[in-house]
């Protein structure tokens, strides 16, 4: 005999249905959110526990995630929905804390970028106690199941953040680690003291590059700095220029399979032509220019846009293009749809290239 309904669940379900009849048109959860926003079963949120300055323009934000948080792997990022000037903004940040901390807290480390709405808010303005929206951790910039014997990390600026998550999780004890990190000055090195302490203990070999005095790192310099870099599994994270150069170098040597990169922003190759974009279900029509992702244009018009990594990798923002043309900002590819089509497009890396109807 098989049992399909557990009495306990069924009772709970019926109680919930009864509660719904009393709270309609809102849900019982909307009332519970007023007192227990972090409870199990609620939309995933977190409460800011502390904000610690790391450098003059970077800070670590400690968050107590809701009960629904499923944990993370070192190197992964979390999407954060923060209200800045009353407007909800979603951004992805690497998790720098160790998985499974006893207090269940997680930490992200944020570098304030010039004119960065969210990063500046997180580094300079957000206060402990504030609620933020969260998503489950994601991203495949992680170590493989079997730890490689020799590892090279190539990072610059805030690109150190996902790597720090891996280092803190005990990687140096299991592998021979070299870290080549670039920052404008010694004081600008995020986690500088902690990295230097690791290097002093001999846990890793640290090569700091202070670009204000020594200039940008040229990838061919690696032949001298890390002579065996071609044999190492390499993880690189940093600005677009560095990653492009690294990818070219590894490809030229035929070892692209040993390189793993993480980009924080899409590379814009080619702008669209712009056009009139209609969000058919929301009944909103806007003029979008050829350089603005449709995601941003829609959000600015108050449309509830699904979103994800905002750099074209997670497919969390995909919606059907019913007709029209969009251009992929990363490679200039044109995608067109004729009436009746439902071509799925990534709004975070697509700009209008003509009149578009989007089903949203």
């Amino acid at each position: 005999m098989t049992t399909t309904v557990r009495p306990k669940a069924s009772f709970r379900h019926r109680l919930l249905r009864l509660a719904e009849t009393v709270t309609t048109p809102v849900l019982p959860g909307d009332y519970l959110d007023m007192v227990a926003p972090l409870r199990a079963g609620a939309a995933l949120r977190g409460r800011i526990v502390a904000v610690r300055a790391e450098t003059r323009d970077a800070a670590t934000v400690v968050i107590q995630p809701g009960r629904g948080w499923r944990g993370h792997q070192p190197g992964q990022y979390v999407r954060l929905g923060v209200d800045v000037d009353g407007v909800r903004q979603w951004r992805a940040y690497s998790i720098t804390s160790v998985p499974g901390a006893t207090d269940r807290h997680i930490a992200i480390t944020v570098k304030a970028i010039p004119d960065g709405k969210v990063s500046n808010h997180l580094v300079r303005h957000i206060r402990p106690g504030t609620l933020v929206q969260l998503d489950q951790a994601q991203g495949d910039f992680v170590l493989p199941d079997t730890t490689p014997e020799r590892v090279l990390f190539l990072t610059a600026g805030s690109g150190i953040t996902p790597v720090m998550g891996m280092l803190r999780a005990g990687l140096p004890a299991r592998a021979d680690v070299v870290l080549v990190h670039s920052a404008p000055t010694r004081d600008d090195v995020i986690f500088g003291a902690e990295l230097r302490a690791l290097a002093e203990r001999g846990a890793l070999r640290l090569i700091e590059r202070h670009t204000d005095t020594d200039g940008q790192l040229g990838v061919p310099e690696l032949d001298d700095l890390v002579p065996d870099h071609a044999e190492r599994q390499t993880w690189a994270c940093g600005p677009v220029g560095l990653l492009d150069a690294v990818e070219a170098h590894w490809a030229a040597r035929g070892i692209a399979d040993r390189l793993h990169t993480e980009r924080f922003r899409p590379t814009v190759i080619s702008a669209g032509d712009g056009g009139t974009v209609t969000f058919t279900r929301a009944d909103v029509t806007i003029e979008a220019d050829g350089a603005t992702p449709i995601l941003d244009a829609g959000e600015n018009a108050g449309v509830l846009m699904p979103s994800g990594c905002r750099m074209g990798i997670c497919f969390g923002c995909v919606v059907p293009l019913r007709q029209g043309a969009v251009r992929d900002l990363r490679n200039g590819d044109l995608t067109t749809a004729v009436p009746g089509d439902g071509v799925l497009i990534q709004t975070c890396v697509s700009a209008a290239a003509g009149t578009c109807d989007i089903e949203l």
Binding site: L18, T21, V22, T24, P25, V26, D30, Y31, M34, D83, D85, G86, V87, R88, Q89, R281, A282, E299, G302, V303, L304
Partner: protein
């Protein structure tokens, strides 16, 4: 009231086409400024109102579980009535207008919001946002003028049926949410022309049925049942709270476009209407209610009907702030900013409903037709 084009003294005859466009530009500037400023303070405001409403609703319903005791009945009924008014007016009406969409909070958004009302949100949005706000006070286009059943303008033809309209209006006030649902369904017209047989109408009617079922189940069955021995008194309490909410909303909304001083417009006047002319029609087609901050919140800031009609999607808490500036603009261009206390405006609106239930005494200056808006804008 007579359509502005048919009046002996046209209240906008002194405005040139340039004046009207400048008025439009000045109003655009006010709007742009508010949009640039809107931010955390506004977000805090709407979240506070929603939190207050929910706290009040749930605690009033808890108190009503003991409604057998008269003090509990009075307290619970009053609290629930206020909660329902806040839900419909300052929160529901304004969220469904998209006034808070800019916050990008999916919990407070015109596309996801639902209200304590029998008209489904999407049907109300269509008839209210798309039709009434677009065709404000245009005879034969704006069904809000008398809700399609009453005669509220001299230029609407009289028939014997209108004799009963003071009574219909009272009935509509008591069961206003049902009146709105029927209105959003365009029930009268659809029954007349056979539109009620189409699958589209049936789907919409089913949606209304679902909303009614849920509202009735909550207010008249589950909540009284949960009250146990207080079943009947809780039933009376929820009925009374709904009645108070309905009469209040009806009164506030009647004050928006019915009081004397409000202008109506001929259908032809909106052909080729410019942005400035559209603004002007909203300015003259709406009336405010003066009063305290509390009155404005309870009225969903529809007491700033003029400001709301000029800028239907600006956050409601901003209307009070821009009102002095808007009024100064009216004064500068010699236009009448219609406003008055709640009792005065309600009386004025009711007087019109009663007066126009009878045929016009005489047609005033029927020959002096001045196609004002058209000529001014041309």
């Amino acid at each position: 009231m007579t359509a502005i084009q048919n009046k002996a003294r046209n209240p906008i005859a002194h405005l040139s086409a340039e004046d009207i466009e400048i008025i439009g530009k000045e109003l655009d500037a006010i709007r742009d400024r508010v949009i640039a400023e809107r931010g955390e303070r506004d977000a805090r405001y709407i979240r506070k109102v929603i939190k207050t409403q929910r706290t009040l609703e749930i605690s009033s319903r808890a108190v009503l579980l003991f409604s057998l005791f008269p003090p509990a009945w009075i307290l619970g009924t009053a609290g629930l009535a206020v909660a329902k008014i806040l839900d419909n007016m300052e929160i529901g009406h304004n969220v469904l207008h998209g006034q808070w969409d800019w916050m990008r909070d999916p919990k407070i958004h015109s596309t996801t919001w639902d209200w304590d009302h029998v008209s489904p949100a999407d049907q109300w949005k269509h008839s209210h946002n798309e039709l009434h706000h677009r065709y404000t006070n245009v005879l034969g286009k704006d069904n809000d003028l008398g809700y399609g059943i009453m005669r509220v303008d001299e230029d609407q033809p009289w028939s014997k049926g209108h004799l009963g309209q003071p009574f219909y209006n009272l009935l509509n006030a008591c069961f206003f949410e049902y009146g709105i649902a029927a209105y959003d369904l365009e029930l009268g017209q659809n029954l007349k022309n056979g539109g009620h047989k189409t699958p589209e109408f049936r789907a919409r009617a089913r949606a209304v049925g679902r909303k009614i079922r849920r509202q009735v189940l909550k207010d008249y069955i589950v909540h009284p049942l949960l009250s146990g021995p207080s079943f009947l008194t809780t039933l009376a309490a929820t009925f009374t709270a709904n009645l108070i909410r309905n009469v209040w909303s009806h009164s506030v909304i009647m004050c928006g476009h019915f009081p004397s001083g409000v202008e109506t417009f001929e259908k032809t006047s909106i052909e080729g209407e410019t942005k400035g002319e559209w603004y002007l029609r909203q300015m003259l087609g709406s009336a405010n209610i003066s009063g305290s901050r509390l009155l404005h919140i309870m009225a969903g800031n529809l007491s700033h009907q003029i400001e709301h009609h000029l800028f239907p999607d600006l956050p409601s808490n901003r209307y009070r702030e821009i009102a002095p500036e808007v009024r100064a603009l009216f004064d500068r261009y010699g236009l009448k900013y219609t406003t008055g206390s709640l009792p005065k405006q309600v009386a004025s609106a009711w007087w019109k409903v009663i007066r126009l239930s009878f045929p016009n005494r005489r047609r005033k200056n029927a020959d002096s037709v001045t196609p004002a808006l058209v000529s001014a804008g041309a």
